[in-house]
């Protein structure tokens, strides 16, 4: 199936010896004009691209002072070198975060520093050439912007921001990535990453209502475009489409039902994800985010709740107010926005949900912290809530839970390998190899504690795992949605009384 070798899982994780250039061939499909132009980018490489790229770099470092600090501050201490899952999985030294940053830094030095202008060789400054551009395209699409390296950097240099800037520069000269840009175009045209139009969405949700009622005997609703509902649920469109995502969506619906909540989804803002962040485009990120504001206003809701999507929660938690605020039309008694895990956890705290965790006794579960949730957001009102709350929910609905090794979870979590706009088949090699550290940590808890399943709260993580788990000899269906576990264990108070007997 694959024309590359899946890395071997060792007894203990090993920092590989470097092998130069092993991933130099990796590059995603380039976006054609039809995917570039709707985002405001040139359709192909512009004529004076060198000049334009340098100009764009200047603009970005002026606009985002953090970028300039990151480009200036590195002292090459090496703390980041073994922290990137893509380096650990590929052995390619250009996947060391410092080397990835240097791809841009060398060019920055050449054009924007005194030493680089006059003594380029002394400070490793280089001209922007086509070869350099090609290398950017390759290696800035081998970064999932997960920010694990920045946790270990003594200066806090954030490689994700450098990757985002590099992608924005490339987009601005006509070299965009097909996967991200085609998807953003669909959001602007149809409302979600999949391009699922309203009638298909309505049909899908209707089918789910039938399925869940058959299964539980309870008429659980999946409301769409209901004006005057209290809560707008914004969730990744993968929740409508794929497994195990849809089982999470069923879980949210059961929680809303049990809480007696008035809620709706929107066909206009039928996507939580915001690939504008992956391509470092403030404008496109804003355009996608404003759809959520418009939907909330048009439907007249009082609250916005986000479903299980990692980078969506970063955009929502950290940027939504500046991108699409102020949200003064929402009920100030609730967080704006709120995460579905916060919502469920609050109900658990108030004793409003009842569970039978033995429904999940056939599993021993571990939890994969999604990078954007773990390192860029919070849940609840205490530091670390974004790590604690999902675990607290799982432990309420499952009897068997074990964490993976401490240096692979929490703020040190390893990326699934498919984040940051890399979740595309043309990047399968880097996705599989980049999953190595997570797979390693998963294997350890399987061997030690008999873990059978890995839960996540991110659509990308879920799709990535269902694809890469089999490469490492694990089951495709080991990956579960957090609210799938909730869904299995929740006791629906209006369920027919003979429900249990049916199973026997």
């Amino acid at each position: 199936m694959a024309d590359f070798e899946t890395p071997e899982l060792k007894e203990i994780p090993v920092i590989p010896k470097i092998k130069e250039g092993t991933m130099a061939h990796s590059k995603p499909y380039v976006a054609k004009a039809e995917f570039q132009e709707p985002l405001g980018y040139p359709g192909e490489l512009v004529e004076n691209w060198e000049e334009k790229a340098i100009e764009k770099l200047g603009e970005l470092k002026g606009k985002y002072r953090s970028l300039q600090v990151y480009l200036d501050a590195c002292v090459k201490c090496g703390a980041c070198t073994d922290k990137c899952h893509y380096f650990l999985g590929t052995s390619d030294p250009k996947n060391m975060p410092v080397a990835r940053q240097d791809l841009l830094r060398k060019v920055y030095r050449r054009y924007y520093t005194f030493a680089g202008k006059y003594f380029p060789k002394l400070v490793g400054a280089i001209d922007l050439t086509k070869d350099v551009l090609d290398e950017w395209y390759s290696y800035f699409h081998q970064c999932s912007q997960c920010r694990r390296c920045s946790v270990y950097c003594p200066y806090g240099i954030d490689t994700a921001e450098i990757s985002m800037a590099a992608r924005e520069i490339m987009d601005s000269i006509g070299v965009g990535q097909k996967y991200c840009n085609e998807i953003l175009g669909k959001v602007f045209k149809i409302g979600n990453n999949l391009g699922l139009p309203q009638p298909a969405l309505a049909d899908t949700l209707e089918g789910l209502e039938e399925e869940v009622e058959d299964d539980t005997g309870v008429p659980i609703k999946f409301p769409l475009d209901v004006k005057g509902a209290d809560i707008l649920l914004v969730t990744p469109s993968a929740d409508f489409f794929a497994e195990p995502h849809v089982d999470g969506l069923i879980g949210y619906a059961k929680v809303f039902h049990e809480a007696g909540a008035s809620w709706t989804m929107s066909s206009y803002a039928s996507e939580a994800g915001n690939f504008g962040m992956f391509i470092g485009s403030y404008e496109n990120m804003r355009r996608a985010a404003r759809r959520i504001r418009k939907a909330a206003q048009d439907l007249g809701v009082k609250r916005i709740v986000f479903g299980e999507c990692g980078h969506a929660w970063r955009v929502a938690y950290s940027f939504l107010n500046t991108l699409a605020g102020p949200f003064d039309f929402l009920d100030p008694n609730y967080p704006v926005p709120q995460h579905i895990c916060e919502y469920t956890y609050d109900l658990i705290q108030q004793g409003k949900l009842k569970f039978d965790p033995s429904e999940n006794d056939h599993m021993t579960v571990t939890f994969h912290d999604s990078c954007n949730v773990a390192r860029a957001t919070r849940m609840g009102d205490k530091p670390g809530g974004q790590l604690e709350i999902p675990r607290a929910i799982i432990k309420t609905v499952c009897n068997n839970y074990h964490d993976m090794a401490p240096d692979t979870i929490g703020e040190a979590t390893f990326c699934c390998g498919g984040g940051g706009g890399l979740l595309t088949d043309d990047l399968m090699e880097i996705r599989v190899k980049g999953a190595l550290p997570r797979m390693q940590a998963y294997k350890e808890v399987i061997d030690e504690f008999g873990v059978t399943n890995i839960a996540a709260i991110c659509a990308i993580c879920k799709s990535q795992f269902s694809k890469v788990l089999p490469y490492y000899g694990f089951g495709m269906t080991d990956i579960v949605s957090l609210h799938q576990l909730v869904s299995e264990a929740i006791i629906l108070s209006d369920a027919p009384a003979d429900d249990d007997e049916d199973d026997e």
Partner: protein, 110 residues
């Protein structure tokens, strides 16, 4: 890129999906399956047929649960699940079956 079917070369995208939906004919699915070393059985055809019908109505491939439900109705309840669909289309029912059916590849976090 392209795929040769009945002496004609049909345009495809980088990943081998048909560029024009209207170019499709059963021989396209046969040719694509042959490239993958797959033999199309009646059950494959049921899936492909449903995908095309659904796409015609909704301009998108069906969600996995819509597909499994429909296939369960047609081929029997034991076959209405993704495990069975993966047996038919090991590269993933969403992607491989869509390709054979001449549909565009589903995009997004799937």
């Amino acid at each position: 890129m392209g795929i040769e079917v009945n002496g004609k070369v049909l345009e495809t995208d980088e990943e081998g999906y048909l560029a024009n939906l209207n170019d499709w004919e059963p021989a396209v699915a046969e040719a694509m399956a042959k490239e993958d070393g797959t033999e199309l059985t009646e059950n494959h055809w049921e899936v492909i047929k449903f995908l095309r019908e659904y796409y015609e109505e909704y301009q998108i491939a069906p969600a996995v649960r819509v597909l499994t439900k429909a296939i369960g109705k047609k081929l029997g309840k034991d076959k209405g699940n993704s495990k069975y669909l993966y047996e038919l289309f090991p590269y993933g029912p969403g992607k491989q079956a869509c390709k054979y059916a001449g549909l565009p590849k589903p995009t997004g976090c799937v």
